[in-house]
């Protein structure tokens, strides 16, 4: 019979740890009822299915060979009954198997996502999104593929045992001759998948390399065409296409070696049945009914024998996958609600950093002995060279990371004593890298508060300079943006991000280089708006453009992990050599700025 056994290949490269098995066990335990049902239902199916050849034997013997009255009717009706039973229970087994396995998959995926959402920034800094995605996708599919096979595996095992027992009870010698070669099928099936798997992986690898060439040629088409480099790329593609061809032929050769051999063995069993069994019939030691039953049993056994090896490798792969999932689930959130989280007292958002030391996992402290006080309602610009830790300061305030030494206080309360939700709703941050969700402009702006009125959304948009372009889009605020929607310029995206922060009406607003992508010719528009947003609100501005820095009441210069100078922009220009240096190097990033400020900046 032509089949597609190849779908179940073996993967023993990764050895699953105990954690993987434990998570699998846990998930199965939660669904034990469904699994028990599936297995139970499967056993009924096995019973019906295995009884059919025996019933056929009895029907032929009594009805045809012995020609007993009523026997034909009796046995054919019983066979029909077995058929009805098998039919009903094959459907039920399928249903339970899929229900349970999908349920396990869905539950784990939900747990994974919920957990990831609560994991600290430092975790996400290290983890690649693609990796996490594949855990929630490919790995869970592996788990599902194993769980779905559990009921049918029980059925198969019982089928093998029961059919073998019946055959032996009919004629032990014939059973031995007919079945003797069959364990080899099992061995061949295992060897087949262990040889095919690496070949298929190799083929996948070659296919990936081929699509890399295609992808880079298409994305780099401007370069290829600009240089007339088509022949170079064509030669590379030919090489990859040849590699793919070679690998494919290799896998075909493996198929050609094993698949026919796996067909051959049961066929040899059939030859034995006809050869030895035929003479037994001649001698009167075997009935024709029994001979037919042997034939049918052999056919019945092939598939279960081939697939028993499968469940082992499926289980191994599932455990390895579960282990990768467990690894994420077992990571405890480093930043969590304190046991008795406080609520912020009324206040204007006074911010106080005292003796703060902080370093990222892999290195020296970025901040060391940093003190900063921002009185309620004031705005401070933090200026510093690249890597001086400006953005780090911004991230410590809403507790994306915890300080190692020192404290961060808002209106006198240590941020670590506040309920996280409370804290983060009080601190609005606009990140340097703008992230917007694929949904409407409105829901992006109203992210903090989806129930915000249209007026509130529009007000926030006006304040951030987003209203003008947003209202001119075809669908206005209802325009869907993002990957599959309307694409905005970097500056427009930043303005929406600012509006998002403004709408939340935070006590403290942090603008982390929030206008870097705004076209210099348009920046002044935003500057007016920002002026208004910042009025009376504690604000931290991180920027290199002098124009943006000048928005703040006060400027502090961050160097060597601490604040080394502070004052107004003009004061610092006049007094601090380091300040001038830092601004001058930042200036090279946009020479249009320097055109405006030749005297001031090129000191």
């Amino acid at each position: 019979m032509p089949t597609s056994l190849e779908d179940g290949t073996e993967d023993v490269r990764r050895k699953a740890t105990r954690d993987g098995w434990r998570l699998l066990g846990q998930s199965l335990k939660a669904e034990w009822r469904g699994i028990a049902f599936g297995v139970g239902v499967g056993l009924v199916w096995t019973f019906a299915k295995v009884s059919v050849p025996k019933l056929v034997q009895l029907g032929i013997e009594e009805g045809i060979e012995q020609q007993l009255d009523g026997a034909l009717m009796k046995w054919s009706l019983i066979i029909l009954g077995a058929g009805v039973l098998a039919a009903i229970f094959t459907g039920a087994r399928r249903y339970f198997a899929f229900r349970v396995s999908r349920s396990v998959e869905t539950t784990l995926r939900h747990r994974l996502f919920a957990h990831l959402q609560r994991l600290h920034f430092a975790f996400h800094d290290k983890a690649a999104t693609g990796q996490l995605m594949s855990r929630a996708n490919t790995d869970l599919q592996q788990v599902q593929a194993f769980v779905v096979m559990i009921p049918v595996t029980f059925s198969n095992a019982i089928t093998v045992v029961a059919a073998t027992a019946i055959m032996i009870s009919i004629n032990a010698t014939l059973a031995l001759l007919a079945l003797g070669a069959l364990p080899l099928v099992n061995i061949l099936a295992k060897r087949f998948s262990s040889r095919l798997h690496p070949a298929v992986m190799g083929l996948q690898q070659e296919l990936a390399e081929l699509s890399d060439v295609v992808e880079e040629t298409v994305s780099g088409v401007r370069v290829v065409k600009g240089h007339g480099a088509e022949p170079i790329q064509a030669a590379r593609l030919r090489k990859e296409a040849d590699d793919v061809f070679d690998r494919s032929v290799e896998t075909a050769r493996i198929r050609a070696t094993y698949l026919p051999a796996m067909e051959l063995l049961p066929n040899l069993g059939l030859v034995m049945v006809l050869g030895y069994g035929g003479y037994q019939v001649l001698r009167g030691d075997l009935t024709i009914g029994q001979l037919v039953a042997f034939n049918v049993y052999l056919a019945l056994l092939v598939w279960p024998l081939r697939s028993t090896g499968l469940i082992v490798s499926l289980a191994q792969r599932a455990a390895a996958s579960a282990d990768r999932v467990y690894e994420v689930l077992a990571t405890a959130p480093a930043i969590a609600d304190p046991p008795h989280g406080k609520v912020l007292p009324p206040g204007g958002g006074e911010l106080r950093l005292e003796g703060v030391r902080f370093g990222y996992l892999d290195g020296a402290p970025v901040l060391d002995g940093m003190d900063l006080v921002v009185p309620a309602g004031q705005s401070v610009a933090i200026v510093g060279a690249t890597g001086s830790g400006k953005s780090t300061v911004a991230r410590l305030i809403p507790r994306f990371y915890d300080v190692e030494v020192g404290t961060v206080r808002i209106d006198g309360v240590d941020v670590r004593d506040l309920r996280l939700n409370e804290l983060r709703r009080s601190v609005g941050i606009v990140f340097e890298e703008t992230f917007l969700f694929s949904s409407t402009i409105r829901s992006n702006i109203a992210f903090a508060d989806p129930d915000a009125s249209d007026e509130a959304v529009e007000r926030a948009a006006r304040l951030s300079g987003a209203h003008d372009f947003a209202s001119q889009l075809p669908d206005g605020y209802a325009t869907v943006i993002g990957e599959r929607g309307f694409s905005l310029s970097g500056g427009q995206r930043q303005r929406i991000a600012i509006a998002r922060a403004v709408l939340a009406d935070p006590r403290i607003l942090i603008l982390d280089d929030a206008t870097s992508a705004v076209d210099p010719t348009k920046e002044h528009e935003i500057r007016d708006a920002l002026d208004e947003v910042m009025r009376g609100r504690t604000t931290i501005v991180i920027a290199h453009r002098p124009a943006t820095i000048a928005l703040a009441d006060r400027v502090v210069l961050l160097d060597g992990g601490r604040i080394v100078a502070e004052g107004t922009h003009d004061e610092l220009l006049a007094t601090s050599e380091r300040y001038r240096q830092v601004l001058a190097s930042a200036d090279a990033e946009g020479d249009t700025d320097s055109a405006a400020e030749p005297g001031a900046v090129r000191a």
Partner: protein, 591 residues
């Protein structure tokens, strides 16, 4: 297993056409195809022969007490079994040989065609779609070739041959026990349709769940910053549940189908015993025939089931093939004319009443006249979308003008050989783009046959050799298009070195809009400056400093060349350029 959306499914006429074309493409391997067909017939024949021989052995051997006849049956069975083994093996190899060669040639041909297509094709089509032709579409064909085709052909043959043999042995009994067959066929067709639909929903929901997941992960910082974790988890939960529901829906569809197949098979067996037994008593059939029926019926319904599942693979392969043929049919716009001549070594570029429109839209450029002297540096400025980059690219024949003509040294670019065109004119795009390979390979994109020394020389010419030679593996360092270790500025340096290696007479430069880190910025500027020396340069300028340094500035607005002159002239003139200059400077001077 693939599934096909209704929009993609081919109608009968299209399917016929695709088949005919595929058949024509197979002509180089026709011998292999024919032997493959013969092998499949032979192989399926051996599968059906087994029960037939059992029948012979029972009727002629056991029932007649004729051990000679039994021996014949056994001997034949041995032969058939061996033939089955050999033919199956040969079949797998043959079909894969044909299929993989077919795929290899198709890949190469489609890729060559893709590369021959003009820039306007790439502007029109999304990169993802183009790439998926060469990947997803070819792979759905490859799935068919690898396993699907053998299974499809053998199952179809098995079904047909079995039915024929059953009728040949006893048409009466065949009629009785095949009553289930039409039911299974109808159920299979219905099941195939519904499960295909269900599968499309599942695929859709998988996409939604994954994109929700992806968004939740890439946006996790924003979500946490706004304390919206619970809401996002809830949103994801609904998507996730939706996926579960879709899965369960598709399971429920199969829950009625598989029992029908199961029951039809066993009911057929019951009928063979009941009715066949009566026929034996009446002498209509032999007991051997009953036995053969039992054995053949056991395997009859499986092919139907498999065929219905393979139908999807077949359909999506057909759809893929049709799309690929469609791509091959897309005409190459920038082909080389017959009798094309090499461009002269030096010359002026003359743009004469040129208009240009992309295939789909309104004109981008209208009536442009422009003379660029050999060795001149021309900066093009203007608002985004005004047509300045289109104009620059027309000058290097990345597109052909819709009206008018562009000449170089008096030769119409359309009459130039493509080779000489790319030798004389090189376009350096905005972002430095890297290909998978070593640094040296990447520079060599500029001129494929360049030696390592020439590559190093080109890097030296743009002042980047020291920087790259200092890397651990030097110029042999592997870089790749995605997670590369080079900074944006270094990528631009590579891109400029390519141009230096190509050593063109005309350089079309698209200046980067985004800023670089200060250190590399200086290097890049210097590299550009060196590269421009002694060449005719058309630069799409985004910075004031660039246009200030150019010999002449052209302002493109609304698809027309509205101003042309030196920087100082244009500022004095008080037109568009002066206004642009004022807003540039003014917006910054305000504070």
């Amino acid at each position: 297993m693939g599934a096909v959306g209704e929009a993609d499914a081919l109608d009968r006429g299209e399917a016929k056409q695709v088949l005919r074309r595929a058949w024509r493409r197979l002509s180089p391997y026709r011998k292999l195809v024919i032997s493959g067909a013969l092998l499949s017939v032979l192989w399926t024949g051996t599968i059906v022969a087994g029960p037939f021989l059992v029948r012979y052995g029972i009727d002629k051997g056991m029932r007649q007490d004729d051990s000679g006849a039994l021996n014949v049956a056994i001997g034949m069975f041995v032969v058939v079994t061996l033939v089955s083994y050999v033919t199956y093996r040969a079949l797998i190899i043959t079909i894969n040989q044909v299929g993989e060669q077919f795929l290899r040639d198709l890949r190469v041909q489609v890729f060559d065609h893709l590369q021959a297509l003009s820039m306007s094709f790439y502007d029109r089509e999304k990169a993802g779609v183009i790439i998926s032709r060469m990947t997803a579409d070819v792979e759905s064909l490859s799935e068919l070739v690898q396993v699907g085709l053998i299974m499809f052909v053998s199952n179809a043959l098995l079904l047909v041959i079995t039915v024929i043999v059953l009728f040949a042995m006893s048409w009466q009994l065949a009629l009785v026990c095949l009553i289930g067959l039409p039911i299974v066929v109808v159920a299979s067709i219905k099941f195939q349709r519904e499960s295909n639909k269900a599968y499309l929903t599942v695929r859709d929901r998988i996409g939604q769940t994954l994109s929700s997941l992806q968004e939740g992960l890439s946006g996790v910082r924003v979500i946490q910053a706004f304390g919206r974790e619970d809401v996002e988890v809830g949103r994801f939960g609904r998507r996730n549940q939706g996926l579960f529901d879709a899965h369960m829906h598709s399971v429920r569809i199969s829950v009625w189908y598989f029992p029908i197949v199961e029951l039809s098979g066993i009911a057929g067996t019951a009928a063979v015993i009941g009715i066949g037994g009566m026929f034996v008593r009446d002498g209509i059939v032999t007991i051997g025939t009953v036995a053969a029926f039992v054995l053949l019926l056991a395997n009859l319904f499986e092919p139907v089931q498999q065929l219905s599942q393979l139908f999807n693979t077949l359909q999506s392969a057909g759809a893929a093939l049709s799309k690929l043929f469609g791509l091959l049919d897309t005409p190459v716009e920038l082909s080389e004319h017959l009798g094309a001549v090499d461009l002269p070594r030096h010359g002026d570029i003359a743009v004469e009443s040129v208009s240009f429109a992309y295939a789909s839209g309104a004109p981008v450029l209208r009536g442009i006249d422009l003379h660029i002297r050999s060795g001149e540096r021309l900066a093009l400025v203007g608002p985004t979308g005004a047509g300045k980059s289109t104009l620059a690219k027309l000058a290097a024949r990345l597109y052909d003008p819709t009206e008018g003509r562009i000449t170089y040294g008096g030769v119409d670019l359309r009459h130039a050989t493509l080779r000489s065109l790319r030798e004389r004119m090189v376009v350096v795009p905005q972002e430095g783009f890297l290909f998978n390979g070593t640094l040296a390979d990447n520079v060599r994109i500029g001129r494929g046959d360049a030696t390592d020394d020439e590559v190093a020389e080109a890097l030296r010419a743009v002042g980047a050799l020291e920087r790259f030679a200092a890397l651990p593996l030097g110029l042999q360092m592997p870089v790749n298009a995605r997670g590369t270790r080079l900074s944006a500025g270094e990528k631009q340096l590579v891109s400029l070195a390519r141009a230096a290696l190509a050593d063109p007479d005309v350089l079309v430069l698209d200046e980067a809009t985004s800023s670089l880190d200060p250190g590399t910025e200086v290097l890049v500027e210097a590299a550009i400056e060196r590269l421009m020396e002694g060449r005719t340069v058309v630069v799409i300028a985004h910075r004031l400093s660039t246009s200030q340094r150019a010999d002449r500035v052209g302002v493109v607005a609304g698809g027309e060349l509205v101003e042309l002159g030196t920087h100082d002239e244009l500022v004095e003139q008080g037109g568009h350029y002066a206004a642009l200059f004022a807003s540039w400077a003014g917006g910054l001077a305000r504070q």
